[in-house]
């Protein structure tokens, strides 16, 4: 089942990739990074793990900028707005799990 994983926490608080791998395969997994979850896409090890766990990684641009970073700092995924995040939840995946 295509699943969107909302990640709210930084790599220092949580390793979401482990849980994502348990619930669904890489091709069926979309990671949505918001709040401190955006750090998951900038940390060397965490971003590598996330790329292995999810085929699509959406990073909230608003939350990235709020923390003093830009798209250039991302090691995984792409920066996007809440509109695209909602579209991913409603149209491109079948369920949502918050980690």
């Amino acid at each position: 089942m295509k699943t969107a994983y909302i990640v709210l926490k930084s790599p220092q608080e949580q390793n979401p990739s482990h849980l994502i791998g348990r619930f669904s395969g890489r091709d069926e997994s979309t990671a949505i990074l918001v709040e401190d979850g955006v750090y998951q896409a900038m940390h060397m090890d965490a971003s590598r793990r996330l790329k292995d766990a999810a085929s699509t990684i959406l990073v909230s641009r608003e939350d990235l900028l709020a923390r003093g970073f830009t798209e250039r700092d991302l090691k995984a995924g792409k920066a996007t707005d809440y509109g695209e995040i909602v579209e991913s939840i409603m149209e491109h995946t079948e369920r949502t799990i918050t980690l």
Binding site: E62, Y82, I85, M90, R95, T96
Partner: protein, 119 residues
Amino acid sequence: MTKTLTILWRTGSMMSMDVNVAAKLARAALEKGYKVNMFGYGEGVTAVKKGQNPKRFPNIGNELEELASKGVNISLCETCYAARGFERGEEIPGVKVGSLTNNLFKFVTESDRLVTIAR
């Protein structure tokens, strides 16, 4: 047929920015033409208190009030609300004090997607 998104939030307005994320998702969904329901549970009910006046961060009370005025159905758990000493009438306009068994159940059964924002 219009798709429906329900957002369940469980963290308080002064704990993190979680409820702000819930509100941003609701706003984006509304702008894209989806029907949106929101349900506050546990500490999350503190976000609907009328008269919030934070000095240095976004006012989630105003945000939720605006969303309610634009058609978002916002409801919350009465038991959680009463447990924190709130009484009916202290909530922002447009918010319904409800229950898990009636309101959240109805929201979930009529929804295409359920998003939980919690820690």
